[in-house]
């Protein structure tokens, strides 16, 4: 088995790996993960691909959980995403952001929650076949629980809608004869720290247009190595909001389960610099 040496070099494959590739559904683990916002995509960036492995005809539902642990903060997410005919996706995400003990005075809630309702429609192209890459438009409505904190920091509101446009393609037999997935997303948003710190700011009620990219190389149908970059708005004054990035290894032993482990760099959050750490995401579908 030519894949064996690759496996043994990857830490997470210390878990027992089934030997068969995905045996039904869409090709090549193209279902991806459920993002921290609930949409189908990578860990941080939504793709034009629908969550799960739904084809035409067909439907699929995916549940994803993730945790991100960086210097002073923790972000946990759970997302449920359903797709129909590889065309339309509805998602529901719930996030909890926790500030480390010691950064806030006793008695103040260290947790901020946010709910994200998402919809995504494939408008053109195909992930693998034909001339055009897959393109999709998405809408997200976010509701942050942090009324007091967000307004204290200068945010205008604690709920908002945002829109994105994604282009995604799996290139067969690219460099190293491996399959490569490339994704670009443009998002119009007013979110401060993806909405956890509210939306907009006192002196600016306009949307920012930000870019997000993902790239991944499949060593084989079960193991991919990739990176993501997510641009974010300037954010609230004095907090130094940063763009986010990560480098990940994803393991997709079958069509029911996937696991991704990433090193993630969230830059500065709420004026606390050097927020890098670990991201772990698990996805299951049925």
């Amino acid at each position: 088995m030519p894949r064996q040496p690759i496996r043994s070099t990857l830490l997470l494959l210390a878990l027992s790996a089934p030997l068969h590739a995905a045996d039904e559904g869409r090709l090549q683990a193209t279902g991806g993960l459920v993002t921290i916002e609930g949409a189908g995509g990578g860990g941080l960036v939504p793709w034009a691909a629908m969550a799960g492995l739904s084809t035409r005809p067909g439907h699929d539902a995916v549940l994803g959980v993730s945790t991100t642990r960086v210097g002073d903060f923790q972000l946990d997410s759970i997302g449920l995403s359903a797709s129909w005919n590889d065309r339309f996706e509805l998602s529901l995400g719930r996030q909890q952001f926790t500030v480390d003990r010691g950064l806030l005075p006793a008695g103040i809630d260290r947790r901020i929650g946010q709910t994200v309702f998402g919809a995504k429609l494939r408008v053109a192209g195909d992930l693998i076949y034909g001339d055009l890459p897959q393109m999709a438009v998405g809408l997200q409505y976010k509701h942050s629980d942090s009324d007091l904190l967000a307004s204290a920091l200068g945010a205008r509101r604690n709920d908002d809608a945002e829109a994105y446009f994604s282009v995604t393609r799996l290139f067969l037999a690219g460099p190293f004869d491996r399959n490569w997935l490339l994704n670009g997303t443009l998002r119009a948003t007013r979110a401060n720290e993806i909405g956890l710190l509210g939306f907009g700011r006192a002196d600016d009620n306009g949307y920012d247009l930000v870019g997000e990219v993902s790239a991944a190389m499949f060593f084989n149908p079960e193991v991919a190595l990739g990176a993501e970059y997510r641009q974010k708005p300037d954010g609230l004054p004095g907090l130094g909001e940063s763009d986010w990035r990560d480098v990940f290894v994803a393991w997709v032993p079958n069509r029911r389960f996937s696991l991704a482990v990433a090193w993630v760099d969230l830059g500065t959050i709420a004026a606390r610099p050097n927020q890098d750490g670990v991201f772990v995401s698990m996805t299951g579908n049925w």
Partner: protein
């Protein structure tokens, strides 16, 4: 060689690229390799729970001979394909996208079991992919 290529990809791009077999046909193992591949593919199609039924009435010796020609041709082996074109061959079957994906998965399984390396599998699938439009919904 492949794991080494993958692990040192940022360093040895040029070196790895030069180890690539120029013709996919040779990478598949020439005549003998293509024959082995076709035997494995057809066995897998028959055994597949979802698409096996599509091959119930297939004339295997004829189908295998045409498949060898087709794979030889698209892998630059220099063969002529003497069968029906892809639209004619699938006419009236109205294959769905899901069935096409099942077919791709079965093909990949067969290639893995027959010992074909992932890179060679990807190269072959990349050349079969453009035929999809002539196969589905006919």
């Amino acid at each position: 060689m492949r794991p080494i290529c993958a692990m040192t990809m940022s360093l040895l791009l040029a070196a790895c690229a030069t180890t690539r077999e120029p013709r996919l046909y040779d990478a598949l193992g020439g005549d003998a390799g293509v024959a082995k591949l076709v035997d494995a593919l057809v066995a897998e199609y028959h055994a597949d729970a979802r698409i096996g039924v599509l091959f119930e009435n297939t004339d295997d010796p004829y189908f295998k001979a045409r498949l060898r020609e087709q794979i030889c041709r698209i892998s630059d082996g220099g063969c002529d394909y003497t069968g029906l074109d892809m639209v004619e061959a699938h006419s009236g079957m109205d294959l769905s996208e899901a069935q096409f994906n099942d077919f791709v998965d079965a093909s990949r399984r067969a290639m893995t079991r027959a010992g074909f390396a992932i890179g060679v599998q990807n190269r072959l699938l990349a050349r079969l992919a453009p035929m999809r439009g002539e196969v589905i919904h006919q």
